[in-house]
């Protein structure tokens, strides 16, 4: 018995426009992947029924034969990527960050332990997810994926960098976890921007304190530095797009030159960028570090900017943390 059987043609008609965020990291990623499809003939993209959300609908349009649909079954998709890599393809697993967590054990064994050249690209990380709410806001993914041996973890800051990082990820031989983002985001970098896995960049110089940020927090870090400048505080901003391997040499240099650091991420304060920075500095150049992130709680529904303020990861909180870090330095 069947009350209805929608057909593909029916499915096309009368469709509303999706909430489109053309300047979001996920859209930039999807377009970049599509543009790189011909250059990387072994590239295949894996989807679990959310291509419209992850941005890879662009790749589906340009390279339908290399788009593999797994249905809503992330664990199967993740381990299958290991199989595809085993026979010579470069699989890119795409889903929301929170559902990457669901398949993390598959990523651990079948991608990292087996050392496969497979990539995971996670859209919808952090509070940036917004109204879907606490269940959907992955605030643990950087920590969890960073803890897997052999996994490279990347979180680009703007659409320009996302395009470069997508290429770098495909050129790199080994497992990568990369965060994109849901909401529209500011363009921070020009066409001359460079991206290299494992390298942080000083994108604003200063000598009183260094703010180390990744992903959408980089724009907020720049805004914080701007407001600090108005009160005579000179804040350096580092875009740390690779969380693992972390650029320990650059961190050390910043610790020596500015004497105090702040980390800023759309993630739990435990185990993500802040954890990586603290580990690196503790081993080389200990100095005061203040952590801006979600303070070991779950998120909630709301608009991303509201949530950033509510949970204390917006620019004013970064500026406050910078003042605290400086005070600790002078003590």
């Amino acid at each position: 018995m069947s009350l209805n059987s929608p057909t593909a043609s029916l499915c096309e008609a009368g469709a509303p426009a999706l909430i489109a965020n053309s300047d979001s990291l996920r859209e930039a990623f999807g377009k970049a992947l599509s543009a790189l499809g011909d250059e990387f003939p072994k590239l295949v993209v894996l989807d679990a029924d959310i291509a419209g959300g992850t941005g890879v609908h662009h790749f589906r349009k340009s390279h339908p034969d290399r788009m593999i649909q797994f249905g809503i079954a992330e664990q199967n998709m993740m381990a299958a990527a290991g199989g595809m890599a085993a026979v010579g393809l470069i699989p890119v697993v795409t889903t929301f960050a929170v559902f990457c967590l669901r398949a993390i054990e598959q990523a651990r064994l079948s991608l990292c332990y087996a050392r496969r050249n497979a990539k995971i690209v996670a859209s919808h990380p952090g509070l940036d997810v917004g109204p879907d709410g606490g269940s959907a806001q992955a605030l643990e993914d950087l920590a969890a994926f960073r803890a897997i041996p052999g996994m490279t973890v990347i979180s680009p800051a703007d659409p320009t960098e996302m395009v470069l990082a997508t290429r770098a990820m495909l050129e790199y031989d080994g497992p990568v976890y990369m965060r994109t983002g849901r909401s529209p985001c500011a363009r921070l970098f020009g066409e001359d921007h460079k991206f290299e896995i494992g390298k942080g960049q000083i994108i604003r110089d200063g000598d009183d304190v260094t703010i180390v940020a990744c992903g959408i927090e980089v724009a907020r870090a720049l805004a914080a530095a701007e407001s600090l400048a108005e009160e005579g505080i000179s804040a350096r901003v580092v875009n740390m797009a690779t969380i693992k391997p972390i650029d320990a040499a650059l961190l050390s240099r910043c610790a020596v030159e500015t004497g105090a650091l702040v980390t800023a991420e759309d993630h739990n304060i435990h185990g993500g960028l802040g954890g990586a920075v603290a580990e690196a500095l503790a081993a080389t150049t200990p100095c005061p570090v203040e952590f801006v992130g979600v303070k070991d709680t779950f998120g909630a529904s709301g608009e991303p900017e509201e949530l950033a303020h509510h949970f204390g990861i917006s620019a004013p909180f970064i500026a406050d943390a910078a003042r605290r870090a400086i005070r600790r330095k002078r003590k």
Partner: protein, 298 residues
């Protein structure tokens, strides 16, 4: 049937009950559309397809009472397809578990009506969901736990059809049959669509009833918009022994709003305009006054 309800008022005739539940379903649809409109995002399609099932579960089948939400003997409901939260909240509003006006503040900061149900925000919500497949496992755990403690309550869970692509749904199904959980009833909102497209285009589910039978369940295929038929089969599930029961309810995604029916894009990530919302509420039979009440909240 809803015993505590029956102690307050005499048992209604089947026709009166069906009428009462149809009105509940109409309210659930209107309220869901309105809350999604106010939220500026959300999942209308699967809320509309499941409204009649919600009305029958909360309005007749389940022993649940707004004034006894912590009563250990209450039946448990798990919305495994957590993105249908607007329909759950609307159901709660209609049957007195929460305030209808408050529940229009969907997906807003500081509102307990998050995009997906959360047990710590709303005490009458039995568990937090939003990751497809998991609710079904939680329901299995509840059914085992209630039986072990000799509590005669039943457990109901609602799943989407796309959700059945999750391996976990089938792990749960296997375990429920193995443990002979006749206190468990799964309801599938079989609207044939999921996030991106039709089930058939994404990952084929058929032969679906045969799969459940092979997994050891008692299976019924029903019209998920026919209230007497839903009630009848929920009742039969309750009388089934030694096996869990599944109702495969054939539904129409977007049911009641013609411009949404059977269109995958109305699944989610859509922003309803005031004009679209008015058109939807009108199609659902809302009066001009009701439309005003739903759309203009102070």
């Amino acid at each position: 049937m809803n015993q505590k309800f029956q102690t307050v008022s005499a048992q209604p005739s089947p026709a009166m009950l069906a009428e009462k539940l149809a009105e509940a379903a109409r309210f659930i649809r209107c309220h869901s559309v309105a809350s999604i409109f106010h939220a500026g995002s959300g999942h209308p399609g699967g809320a509309l397809s499941s409204a009649d099932l919600f009305a029958c579960l909360y309005g007749a089948e389940m022993n649940v009472w707004p004034n006894a939400i912590h009563d250990p003997s209450r039946d448990r409901f798990v919305l495994s397809k957590g993105h249908a939260a607007p329909a759950l909240y609307a159901t709660g509003a209609h049957f007195g578990f929460c305030d209808a006006k408050a529940a229009l503040a969907l997906r807003k900061l500081n509102s307990p009506f998050q995009g997906h149900p959360h047990v710590l925000d709303l005490p009458w919500v039995e568990t937090s969901t939003g990751s497809l497949g998991q609710g079904m496992s939680v329901a299995v755990g509840m059914a085992i736990g209630l039986r072990l403690q000799k509590i005669p309550a039943r457990v109901y869970t609602m799943l989407g059809d796309g959700e059945l692509q999750e391996g976990e749904a089938w792990e749960a199904a296997m375990s429920a049959a193995h443990h002979k959980l006749d206190n468990l009833c799964a309801v599938i909102d079989y609207n044939k669509l999921q996030s991106d497209n039709c089930n058939d285009a994404i990952m084929r589910l058929e032969p679906l009833a045969d799969k459940w039978r092979a997994f050891g369940w008692s299976v019924a295929e029903i019209d998920g918009h026919n209230i007497p038929e839903i009630l009848d089969h929920l009742g039969r599930a309750g009388a089934t022994r030694e096996k869990p029961s599944v109702l495969i309810a054939h539904t129409i995604k977007g049911k009641g709003v013609p411009y949404m029916e059977n269109i995958p894009t109305w699944h989610g990530s859509v922003k309803l305009t005031p004009a679209q919302t008015e058109e939807a509420l009108t199609a659902l039979g809302a009066s001009a006054d009701e439309i005003k009440g739903f759309m203009h909240v102070s």
